[in-house]
């Protein structure tokens, strides 16, 4: 884990190395101060020599200033190094995600990816800053102070040989037992959040079924669980403070008792005794700091692991070594194609698909959910990779193409069409960054979007809100079609992307396509028979297989599934005007009024 994370240090290596060096300088000076202080007392104050006091005092002042400067600088550099490190981590994660195939994307939920890129990275950033500064400072402080103590009075310094291991073991025991408790607390918090979250989202269900008391009981159990584990963990950790006070006080008493006798016996001086007190505190405090550091670093380990999981996820679809950069035509071939969604299901999502579509044809695909319609067409722009068989566009297997070339030529209007915050023009330019206004208008006209765009307050410069909330479902769909057309693709796939468009407009879109784009292969997936009935050929999908291929009339005559769908859609209606799929009364995906 550490190795992967540390690759993100990069250009911040200099600051990362400078920090511990400055810390070492600071600690060195700091531990030297009590030593000189002893000299002031013993060689200046006790013998009454003002000149010695002044000389040593000024040296000490100068040293303190240097120590202050290097301490401040080390903090400054450590912050910059850590912020830079986390920037690089975020960068690496984001760039890796951009490389993900659809299969990779399905591995992680969006919210978990966001958490990894924010909270987890912040945790790791703090841990990194700690690692290069405080985690260097504490052990150095401990070692230097012990060395200085031995230097002053080796006999007395042996106290530390007794005290340090005792405190070390005690602190270790506390951390050892508290750490798993804290891990448990995190899990209990998840449960609590879950209950609150489900209640916030499902408050109407709770109220409708009058479940307030049950939910309150559920919550109380969760919060009591947190209470009992968390207080245990905190009480354990709270032993640190009295333990430290106890050890420091005991050490000071021991030093006073032994030191008193030594001074009387002339083997020690008063100043040295005072400096021993200072060293005792440094030693014990740095031990405590060390135990804190260990706890903190191990708590951030989980965050580190979550980040590495994303970094180590390798994109399952990559560019070939010698990519083909031109798609000759829009012919499409599926040869013995099978496809499995990784791990999810035992039976294949698609099997034994054989389908040949000529350049410029208009093909309809129909079938129930889970029949594999969307999966089938997603193999064309290599959003997923077929497990068996060959998928060809323009007679060349899709794996041989440069990904960008392939996806530019096989345009896809997805089921969950999405617009991004920006003007309508910005959104259309996704199809072609260099599109001229005339090209954009032409594409919008084909998609029957030009009229409503012109009616918008700022026309093509109207700003689309983050989730496209200020355009209707049908308008959104027409914009996403126009966006795809701007690519001037050889193959256009529309995955149920006119579901919110009224039948008359839908008809106009189809007519415009046949008339103006005769050489573009058009593949339409739809739930409505009326949307695809005019297609050259209609593919009926059922349980991951092609059930039948034929024209509307042929299928009506012979295919049971097709007949069934047709029947349900013209249900009880003899009126020729009636839209056979029924009215689409509302904007897709709208939740509450």
């Amino acid at each position: 884990m550490l190795k992967t994370l540390l690759t993100a240090v990069r250009e911040y290596r200099r600051q990362s190395l400078l920090t511990p060096l400055l810390v070492a300088l600071e600690v060195g000076i700091e531990t030297f101060i009590p030593f000189l202080m002893a000299a002031i007392i013993d060689q200046g104050i006790t013998p009454g020599r003002v000149d010695v006091i002044w000389r040593l005092g000024l040296i000490l002042l100068a040293m303190s200033v240097v120590s202050l400067a290097s301490g401040a600088a080390s903090s400054w550099f450590s912050s910059h190094a850590a912020a830079g490190f986390s920037k690089n981590l975020r960068h690496d994660i984001f760039y890796n995600i951009q490389k993900f195939s659809f299969e990779n994307i399905d591995h992680f939920s969006n919210s978990s990816l966001v958490t990894r890129m924010t909270t987890d990275i912040t945790n790791v950033q703090n841990a990194y800053q700690m690692a290069i500064r405080i985690a260097v400072r504490a052990p150095l402080m401990l070692i230097f102070s012990i060395i200085m103590a031995f230097n002053i009075n080796a006999q007395m310094a042996t106290i530390f040989v007794v005290v340090v291991p005792i405190l070390g073991v005690a602190l270790y025991i506390i951390v050892h037992f508290a750490y798993p408790l804290f891990q448990k607390v995190f899990k209990r918090y998840d449960r609590l959040n879950q209950v609150v979250s489900e209640n916030l989202r499902g408050i109407r269900v709770v109220k409708t079924f009058v479940r307030e008391n049950e939910e309150i009981h559920k919550f109380n159990t969760a919060s009591t669980d947190i209470f009992s584990t968390y207080s245990k963990a905190q009480r354990l950790l709270a032993l640190n403070a009295p333990l430290m006070t106890f050890m420091i006080n005991t050490t000071i008493l021991a030093i006073s008792w032994i030191g008193g006798q030594m001074i009387v016996g002339n083997s020690m001086q008063t100043g040295q005794l005072v400096s021993m007190f200072a060293y005792a505190m440094s030693v014990l405090f740095s031990l405590m700091m060390l135990s804190n550091i260990i706890t903190q670093l191990s708590l951030s380990q989980a965050s580190g692991n979550r980040i590495v999981a994303v970094l180590n996820e390798t994109a399952t679809i990559t560019n070939p070594a010698q990519p083909v950069t031109e798609v000759p035509n829009g012919a499409v071939d599926f040869e013995d194609v099978s496809f499995y969604y990784a791990k999810k299901r035992k039976q294949p999502t698609l099997s034994d698909i054989n389908l040949h579509i000529q350049n410029g044809a208009l093909i309809g695909i129909i079938g129930s959910t889970g029949s594999g319609k969307s999966t089938l067409v997603q193999l064309l722009p290599r959003l997923y990779e077929a497990n068996e068989g060959t998928v060809k566009v323009g007679g060349i297997p899709v794996q041989n193409y440069d990904l960008r070339t392939l996806r530019d030529n096989v345009a896809m209007v997805l089921q969950n069409n999405m617009l991004f915050s920006g003007t309508i023009k910005d959104n259309l330019r996704w199809g072609n960054p260099d599109a001229t206004d005339a090209q954009m208008i032409a594409a919008a006209k084909l998609a029957q979007a030009d009229d409503f765009i012109n009616e918008l307050p700022q026309g093509y410069d109207t700003y689309v809100e983050q989730d496209g909330s200020n355009v209707s479902g049908g308008q959104k769909q027409r914009l996403t079609i126009a966006r795809a057309l701007l690519k001037q693709p050889k193959v256009l796939i529309m995955d149920d992307s006119t579901s919110a468009v009224d039948t008359a407009t839908e008809q106009k879109i189809r007519e415009a396509f046949s008339h103006d784009l005769p050489d573009m292969t058009k593949i339409l997936i739809s739930q409505r028979i009326s949307s695809i009935s005019g297609a050259d050929e209609i593919v009926v999908m059922d349980q991951g297989k092609i059930n039948d291929i034929g024209t509307h009339d042929e299928l009506l005559a012979r295919n049971a599934i097709y007949q069934d769908l047709n029947k349900s859609q013209i249900h009880a209606s003899q009126d020729p005007d009636v839209n056979p799929a029924g009215p689409t009364l509302q904007k897709v995906g709208d939740s509450h009024e």
Binding site: I40, I41, S75, R90, Q98, Q129, V264, P583, E593
Partner: protein
Amino acid sequence: MNSGVRSFGKKGSGPRHTGATVKRLLGLIFTSYPLPLIVAMISIIIAALAGVMGSLFLQRLVDDYILPLVQQHSHDFSNLFRAILIMGGIYYVGVIATLLFTQIMPVLGQRIQRRIRDDMFAHMQTLPVGYFDRNDYGDVMSRYTNDVDTLMQLISQSLPQFVSSLFNIVFVIVGMLTLSPLLTILSLFIFALSIGVIRFLSNRSSKYFQAQQRSLGQINGFIEENLNGLKVVKVFSHEKESEATFDKYNESLRQDAALANGYSTMLFPIMGNIGNILYVLTALVGGVLVVSHNSALTLGAIAAFLQLSRNFSQPISQISQQLNAIIIALAGAERIFQLLDEKSEVDNGQVTLVKAHAGADGQLVQDDQGSVYAWQDPKQAALIPLQGRVVFDHVDFSYDGHKQILKDINLVAEAGQKVALVGATGAGKTTITNMLNRFYEIGSGTITYDGINIVNIKKDSLRKSLGMVLQETNLFTDTVANNIRIGDLNADDAAVEKAAKLANADGFIQNLPQGYQTLIANGGSSLSQGERQLLSIARAAVADPPVMILDEATSSIDTKTERQVQVGMDNLMAHRTTFAIAHRLSTIFNADLILVIEDGEIKERGNHDTLMAQKGIYYELYTGKTILD
């Protein structure tokens, strides 16, 4: 959670009514657990006092015991031993006091955190639906997590440390004054200097922490948008452009984070080294004073003073650190109190729903084992049979008192009839059903249920008599069976299965790995939209109410599943009064009453045939000539 390195100066928005919040919070802590709090506070004071007295004792140790021994060349250490014993006594009283308050305060914090959370949740359950519609999900959520956590942090850590630091400073200053007023003035001068440094650094860092929060928010928003649209990004090979935008946000976050942390972490070494400077200055000035015999300063006093000055700079930086934590926690506490102060749903209903059976004379008799439900009005002897006749009489509604959302809605739904509501988003269809279950209260007019004004029906009873299948199915983390059982807690497994069969959900449930015992996680993300809807129909079926509100899902599920859902819905609607917010043909065809709603008004009413003949809005919609958005 328990972060030892709490970023200092990380300010959210500060509290707005600091005084009132502090008062209420202290009141809460004090009235909840007065005894432990008092014990803890006294312990904190004792511990601080013991620390300072221990340091002061150093003077006597040196001046009264060690130095005389040195001068007398005596080897009688019994006095020294006694002195050390006294010192030990003081020290260990301090240790015990420390042990006491460090054990009491975290548990106190935990107790209060549990109590506040429980209170908050219980209170939240009484709030009207309007509260949840008005308030952002994340905002309410963070009150349970961040706000309660920081509050607990305040009680278990910041508060004791703050008090302890405060008393430490006071005792240290008093101690210093007894040793040497002159050196104390020197220390106070350094003290003032440190305050200046702290203020400078924390102003800087909090400025950049705010900037960092903004940058974090921006990058967060961008990442979310990018992830939600990642498939679109890939389809359009838009990766390069996204990366460029990301880099821009990322760099600005780096700069803010570096500066914010830079200024805040710098505080510790600077304060520490100012402490060193004070230490050195004390020795220097004190030494000169002793040597020049210009004051009563002794060697022991200097030793003690040096020790005290070590204890001086630490509490100062701690106080400034805790002050920030306290401000953040108070802002959180204010938000918690805000939720606790939200007004609960008003419920003056007297009429309740009871079980009953038909008596010999045909009259209903209350009976907890009875097979039918009836209304019980305390003002009336006889039970009223539960039938499901609903009447809206001149109903108006407005959220804010200005903009009319519903205008003069009149409708009669006879028991067992099906009413379809048709109209554009925002026309007021869902709002009409929200009046019936009293998620919102009507402005004027009356709604009656079996002839009883619904205002007089106890809300719990009213809602029990109404089934709802909502557009979005909210599943809870539990088994499939228990998710259905939400409709009726007392339903046994057979009843659950029966309801699932009625809802047409049994088939897919049997195919799940553990059937009815399959655990649903993440809101049922492993189930398809259609399957979730089937579960929510089963849930309503097990409740078996006489009146149903169906808000059909609009998102495209395929025809086959849709038909399954339709069969389930049809089964559910049979023999029940149904209000259907309709998107599907079949729902509309056979409705007894179709209401076309526009701008909160009923524009057309009738059944399918009469409305088609009318050739009005309904006809236009139905023939696909108009599309509603």
